[in-house]
């Protein structure tokens, strides 16, 4: 369990609401999302497709598509609200305070710029580094993400790298200016399991070396189990359960959706049984309730869960083939 400090969390999302305008109506895509990430913490953010995990990350980074807007709540970085001053603060902490690793490095890198150049492009520009210094920094960063012979690979273009190496390059550019928070949007989903294991190991090392906090979005609960300290579960644009201690949540999930999600994980040990799917996926945006989500209530130290009804319980525990 991680230590609690009196100071504000590095990243704190409080009652974040994001609405989508479709036609002339507005629908809640995120409803009262609440979570926080400390330095040195790896927080998993799980939920099925469309639950709003990636959208949460995008909202933090100010990367919402034009038809989506933040309609409420606060995103605090070191206690300062990023949404308060019309984006100026947000712009100044992008890349320096918070950075992001994307799912598909193949499309997130500049195809016509040498990788060594592009991972330090932002830093070199901000700090006014010369060519030599920039090169040295690039080589240093590439070494840090486990690329051997960094001087050689710094001169390669993204298309000359393998998928795993591209993701390492992406990570190198994310850590270039030592951010306090790294948002990871399914960074290993596009990679095969061997490379995935390597990248996870790298993230672990970076977490300790840099003391950065990671917010790690994934579908894959095995990744969470292997790598995260804490977990937040999302369903249909809401945070339904969160725990600062991963083990406690896995051992005794409180919300019926979390239970269903955990029950859907295939197990090798134990009695043979039919694989369980989720009872049903989250309803589409336009069919969701437009009421305000009740805030999560604490049920233990560092542990909150959204209120739910017996109906919810029946809905989530229903067998998918019933």
């Amino acid at each position: 369990m991680m230590e609690q400090t009196a100071t504000a969390a590095a990243l704190q999302i409080d009652g974040l609401c994001v609405s989508a305008r479709i036609g002339d109506r507005s629908y809640k895509a995120l409803d009262s999302v609440a979570l926080s990430v400390e330095r040195g913490e790896a927080r998993g953010l799980v939920g099925e497709s469309g639950s709003g995990k990636s959208l949460t990350l995008r909202a933090v980074m100010g990367l919402l598509p034009p038809n989506l807007e933040v309609t409420g709540g606060a995103i605090r970085f070191r206690g300062q609200d990023l949404l308060a001053d019309g984006g100026k603060l947000l712009h100044s902490i992008r890349g320096t305070g918070i950075s992001m690793v994307f799912q598909e490095p193949a499309v997130a890198l500049n195809p016509v710029m040498k990788v060594g150049q592009q991972i330090v492009d932002g830093v070199a520009w901000r700090r006014g580094l010369g060519r030599r210094q920039a090169k040295e920094l690039a080589a240093e960063l590439l070494t840090q993400v486990g690329i051997k012979d960094p001087e050689h690979w710094a001169n390669a273009y993204p298309h000359q790298l393998s998928g795993g190496m591209r993701q390492r390059v992406m990570i190198a550019s994310a850590i270039a200016s030592q951010p306090e928070i790294i948002l990871c949007d399914e960074p290993t989903t596009a990679l095969d399991v061997t490379i995935q294991a390597q990248i996870l190991k790298l993230f672990k090392a970076l977490k300790t070396d840099l003391g950065a906090g990671l917010l790690y979005v994934t579908h894959d609960l095995s990744v969470v189990a292997e790598f995260c300290d804490s977990l937040t579960v999302m369903y249909a644009g809401r945070t339904v359960e969160q725990s600062d201690d991963l083990a406690a949540l896995i051992a005794a999930p409180a919300h019926p959706y979390t239970r269903a999600l955990l029950a859907a994980v295939p197990r090798i040990r134990g009695p043979v049984r039919r694989l369980r799917g989720l009872a049903s996926s989250a309803p589409p945006l336009t069919e969701r309730e437009q009421t305000v989500a009740p805030p999560m209530v604490p049920i233990g130290p560092g542990r909150q869960v959204a209120p739910f009804t017996h109906e919810d319980e029946r809905f989530f525990s229903r067998d998918d083939e019933a």
Binding site: L63, F102, V107, L109, G122
Partner: protein
Amino acid sequence: MTALSPFESRTSSSGVLRKMLRNNPQLLFGLLIVGVILLMAICAPLLTSYDPTEQDFLSTLQGPSADHLLGTDNLGRDLWARLLYGARVDLFLASVAVVLPFIIGSTIGALCGYFGGWFDTIVMRIADIVVAFPFYVLVISLVFILGNGVSSIIVAISIISWVAYARIIRAEAMVLSATNFMDALHVGGLGVPRIIFRHLMPNVLSQAIVYAMSDIVANIGVIVTLSYFGLGIVPPTPDWGNMMSEGQPFFAGGIYTLMLIPAVAVIVTSYGLSLIGDGLATALRVKR
């Protein structure tokens, strides 16, 4: 992780060029044609001893001979010399007239594609207005207003042909702006000018470069046409357009060379440039 390292040979630019030419006869042939013409234009003083504007009334309208390779025109000027010096004027002007619209159009297009919104709408409506006029009608009236000569030709062409570059670059920039690549740059905290000029532009310029080749061809057409109508290059400066218009009266009289030789020069040059354009398009497509 060192398995993938055959890229040293690919990063050397001469290697890339050689490879590009080997699989691309269009490009090779085009470069050859235009190269020869360019060389001839540059070395004009070495290839002829005549002054292209020097008149010799004792030897007018002569056929090809040892003295005058292609014969002389009605004022006794050497046709070969006029052809060479005319190439200088036309090729230089056509290439220069591509630069300004290329720069202006690409920048405007990148800004439109990146920002979108009202800026994009206004600029693109202006572009629509420009292309709503028939090209030659607009060029001729602009040159007529600006007065003939080199600078007004460049201005007239620039006012019109930035549109094509802006549209090409805008479309590409819009596609690129919607990708994670742009998000990654924003996340990196880069400023907008740096994103546009350092990251976006290099990714979308290839299409505009290909178009520029065919635009030079179009420019040669424009310049020659304008000069033919007496609106372009002012005589006695040699140019293929005014050579044709000066030779035209003798066409009916059976002296075909005065008009046909500069016409063939225009056609061959345009053909060569078109081949380069197509060849480049192929080469850059493969690279993607």
